[in-house]
Amino acid sequence: MSQLFDLSLTRVRDLLRSGEVTAEAATAACLERIAATEPALDALLHVAGAAALDQARAMDASGPDASRPLWGVPVTVKDVLATEGLPTTCGSRILENFVPVYDAHCVSRLKEAGAIIIGKANMDEFAMGSSTENSAYKVTKNPWNTARVPGGSSGGSAASVAAGQCFASIGTDTGGSIRQPASFCGIVGLKPGYGRVSRRGLVAYGSSLDQAGPMTRTVADAALVLQVIAGHDPKDSTSIDAPVPDYLEAIQGASLKGLRLGLPEQYWGEGLSAEVDAACRGAVDLAASLGAEIVPVSLPHTEYAIATYYILAMAEASSNLARFDGVRYGRRSTKSVDLATMYTRSRCEGFGEEVMRRIMLGTYVLSAGYYDAYYKKAAQVRRLIRQDFLNALGKCDLICGPACPTTAFAIGENTADPLQMYLTDIFTISLNLSGLPGMSLPVGLGRDTGMPVGLQLFAGNLQEAPLLAAAAVLEANLPAMPAPPIA
């Protein structure tokens, strides 16, 4: 029998509900797992051990509550999401001592649903990175091979879920930061459509791109977590006021028969490693054998996506990160005599190199004389990229391609050249520009590196349910993913 920490969220939820497992036992199992694996992984920035156990005991005292879908389930959340009374650093020195006085909307939703927040997950500083090597605190390692990165920026969340430290984590995805680490760590990662989950309390990086979503070990788990965190929030003006379907019901008895699966030619050619190509094509062949119709589609502006994304994201970041000035919260330099040097020195002492680089690039592309050439131009190309998706989705129901060109790369492999690191985001980045939902599903291990491979599925606006349904069918018919070889 599996150990408690190995179980899926939906399974442990059922055991908690029936009283076969107590909230305290589930929490203790995760905390023990954290103690056993953290020395090798460095996935978490903060562990709420005693408080989580106290909360679990109090919940056990009043007994299971079937009206709360995550009753007693220990989860972690990325450290970019505000948690009342728990440090929220965004992986940055500038927020080293910041303890929010409120919860992010999705964190409130988790708590209302009965989840127990047991830790805050490591991340690239302010979500700027693709490997979790840009955290000011520690470098998270991949549970499948600790010499490799877990991906990023939600690398701590991905590693913590893959290693069994928690039953789910909430990550955020601005250019692939849920899907790419999910792919690298062999778990499920869902980026909901823009506006499906409130961004209130998600410390902003690229406001028109950021979206929080579930990172879990199974598709049903992702459906369950999305059910809890999705929905309208009047305090986020970009939150969509649309009904939230029953995602768990949508995946029950789902079928691929007659589903048109679109394969964009730009995602299946040059630059794709042989092992990723083989694993993803195997999953597509499986889909075809289960009745899906494979349709060739084209996303012709894919080659422009990285340039478009980084211009827009850096512009938005330079504006968003102006709030860190050492006045109301965050680090203040003690080496300042006047207000202007206080701002400047506080920011320089607090921000890491990649954050400074992006703020400067963003400042440049928004500055007088360059705004039209860079920022406006990128916003125009963004519309072309979105139109590509809408055109493709006119010919198919879901778009399908690899999540990343390679499996997880080695720690240190891409740190010397920032542009080289940006180029690894090629398959995830367009989706954020479009605002549409997408997810990464583990489809096996690469034959050369033995590291997990993720297949991405993209859907139309508000089509998270069919996305989850198709992923659930594939998951049920693929060989089960083994557990990562971490002690």
């Binding site: 459509g193 202007a340 920011r347």
Partner: protein, 94 residues
């Protein structure tokens, strides 16, 4: 070369960042590489394309503006580097 070390220093000033002359050389050259890559967008004719600044179809939906007291003064000041219990304190301005 678009971003000379001098230009990098000027951009840093605009962004309220302070960088050393050595950093200006490295950052300037990295920014040059990155901006050079971004020039790729000029291959596309976008004269007739409306810019897309957000994926939201109808941005700007506002809720009713209702006064509520969600936080106490003490909570709001809790994370401040320096306060007098009433206000945020900053270095002398005038």
């Amino acid at each position: 070369m678009k971003i000379s070390p001098e230009k990098a220093l000027a951009i840093a000033t605009l962004a309220r960042l302070e960088i050393s002359p050595e950093q200006a050389v490295t950052l300037g050259s990295q920014m040059d590489d990155i901006l050079g890559y971004m020039d790729k967008l000029n291959e596309l004719d976008t004269a007739d394309v409306e810019p897309m600044y957000t994926p939201v179809d109808q941005p700007g939906a506002l809720r009713a503006d209702e006064v509520s007291r969600e936080f106490s003064r003490a909570q709001i000041l809790k994370n401040a580097p320096e306060t007098d219990g009433q206000y945020f304190i900053v270095p002398r301005i005038v």
